[in-house]
């Protein structure tokens, strides 16, 4: 017998068990980290490399990496597109759309999640319609509804449009969160004499917070990416990032410029996500793991 196995034999069983578990756990985590970095890292790295290709030194087979890197593609986008204006519009519309869809969704989701009203199944389908509508119908017909309400070329119209396209995610995800609240907690609170306000503040909102966060992220990304409707009712008064992205991506596909715009679009979102998660995570995890 070797020294190490001797030592193993002398350690109590549950300690060994815990060690083995920790090892498995460590391997799993390492594996996860590696796949994660490959999974997200390689495509993002590709985008970064394409955005840095020097116009005079094309990146082509058989070069594994671009011959020469430069900021020329970035300079091009900033010089010849209205990207700064678009960034401003996108990042003012998106938060407003998120807030509006939250306000509109909250009562709806509460009823759909906790009350058994007649026609509930139909309503659950109806709220999905904005994301089911084919892009062409949105561009050609939904835009006319906005025109009829005099909501074209207006900032408020744009916020409403983005709210409309993002609200299905918000409603459905929030509804699920409301459904998941155990009735016994609510009963207990009621027995203790909690009024509606306290119920909302101390039970519903903390319990639905993970769902709310997901819904907000979806409403936000939908707003940032919305193209069909924005283009028809917003331009030329307003341009958002996708209206610029599509000029390099749609019919006239130019990888270098598209990479630049995509990175410009992604970076603030990712930074925002990290910040929001940092703020919310600490209390949302504890709130939702049953320690209410």
């Amino acid at each position: 017998m070797t020294a190490s196995s001797l030592r193993l034999a002398s350690t109590p069983l549950h300690v060994r068990e815990a060690r083995r578990k920790r090892l498995v756990y460590g391997i799993l985590t390492a594996f996860f980290v590696v796949t994660q970095i490959l999974w997200v890292g390689i495509p993002v790295l590709m985008a970064i490399l394409w955005s840095l290709v020097d116009p005079q030194h094309p990146w082509s087979f058989p070069q594994l990496f671009p011959e020469k890197l430069s900021w020329a593609q970035w300079a091009y986008v900033f010089k010849y597109t209205n990207i700064v204006r678009a960034l401003k519009t996108s990042y003012t519309v998106a938060p407003l759309a998120v807030i509006l869809s939250f306000i509109l969704s909250l009562p709806t989701s509460y009823v759909l999640g906790r009350k058994n009203i007649p026609g509930k199944k139909v309503f659950m389908l109806v709220v999905l319609l904005p994301i089911i509508m084919p892009g062409m119908v949105v561009a050609l017909f939904l835009s006319r509804v906005f025109a009829a309400f005099h909501l074209t070329q207006s900032f408020f119209g744009l916020v409403l449009a983005h709210t409309l396209m993002g609200i299905p995610y918000m409603i459905r995800v929030l509804t699920t969160s409301f459904e998941a609240i155990p009735q016994d907690i609510i009963d207990a609170a009621e027995n203790l004499g909690a009024n509606t306000f306290i119920k909302i503040k101390d039970i519903f909102l903390p319990m639905v917070r993970p769902g709310l966060l997901a819904g907000m992220v979806f409403a936000f990304t939908t707003s940032i990416e919305e193209f069909n409707l924005t283009f028809v009712i917003g331009t030329p008064t307003f341009e958002t990032i996708p209206t610029i992205l599509y000029s390099f991506l749609g019919y006239n596909f130019i990888r270098t410029n598209a990479s630049v715009v995509a990175l410009i679009m992604m970076t603030p979102n990712i930074v925002l996500l990290f910040i929001v998660e940092r703020i919310l995570k600490s209390d949302y995890l504890s709130a939702s793991l049953g320690k209410v």
């Binding site: 590709m46 709806t108 459904e179 993970p210 990304t221």
Partner: protein
């Protein structure tokens, strides 16, 4: 939930901000699409009732497109969930390191679909990383032609890559609402990991699983940007076929029929998913 119906005016007033808002804006768009499929209020300015456009239901191209899109919708929703659920379980609890990972994994959420498509295509292209690595390791002699495969696996792969964080967010929210004391209780009663997975995690996370699958299906079924660059040369997705019908062949009314097909099929599949989820939940009390 109790089976009695809650019929109160207040509840209908409360759903008005959400449902009413959507109906107000979408009602007429849907009506006009349906009307156009019967030749009324056409984009071209004519208005004459006809059923002739609905003949496209029997065209092989339309059927092929619907079947293809259904395939993409189902495979993408199931595939994304299969990736996201274990990750969600893994990330359910954890320290700062995992929190960082959880943020990292969400990056694709912010990459527009078309950009995601081009990035993945880059990797699986004729001289992309995958082929070069396989060539370098000596597994293959000729690069594989993985672009635009006949089945549409490329589309599914891109959908999974792009939407994994989307599903993960919803599933994580559901998993987070499962209380630890339930799991501890099950463990104390001698339940093993599989039993906990199938008897606690999956049934209790079912509402989240269902919603994520429905939303994913809608995204993948109605997709046209990803299919148009990564899909097979034939058939086009139904959304792509709808666009081509209108803009390449100027058959606007026939395109409206396809619009109706998209809406109806999606609603039907959503209903079907809900029924399936109910059945699964029912089977695992």
């Amino acid at each position: 939930m109790d089976q009695k119906k809650d019929v109160a005016l207040i509840h209908y007033l409360m759903i008005l901000p959400g449902v009413g808002f959507i109906v107000l804006f979408l009602g007429s768009s849907i009506l006009i699409t349906v009307a156009q499929s019967f030749g009324l209020f056409s984009v071209t300015g004519t208005s004459r009732f006809t059923l002739v456009n609905w003949k496209t239901l029997w065209e092989r191209e339309t059927l092929d497109s619907v079947v293809f899109s259904l395939k993409m919708g189902v495979l993408s929703s199931v595939g994304t969930l299969l990736f996201a659920f274990p990750v969600g379980l893994f990330l359910r609890k954890g320290g700062a390191g995992k929190r960082f990972l959880a943020s990292l994994i969400k990056i694709p959420l912010f990459i527009p679909a078309l950009v995601a498509a081009f990035l993945i295509l880059n990797i699986i292209s004729y001289h992309g990383i995958v082929n070069e690595v396989l060539l370098g390791l000596g597994f293959i002699k000729e690069p594989l032609r993985m672009l635009n495969d006949k089945f549409g696996w490329g589309v599914v792969a891109i959908q999974i890559w792009k939407n994994l964080p989307f599903v993960l967010l919803i599933v994580s929210a559901s998993l987070a609402s499962i209380r630890d004391d339930i799991i501890d209780a099950a463990r104390n009663l001698g339940a093993n990991n599989w039993a906990i997975l199938f008897r606690i995690y999956i049934p209790l996370a079912m509402p989240g699983i269902l919603v994520s699958m429905i939303l994913m299906f809608i995204k993948a079924f109605g997709d046209f940007p990803i299919t148009s660059v990564a899909g097979p040369t034939y058939p086009p997705s139904i959304a792509l076929r709808m666009r081509n019908t209108a803009t390449l062949f100027q058959e606007w009314d026939k395109a409206a029929v396809m619009g109706v097909i998209i809406i109806v099929t999606t609603l039907f599949m959503t209903w079907l998913y809900s029924r399936l989820a109910q059945a699964v939940e029912g089977g695992n009390p």
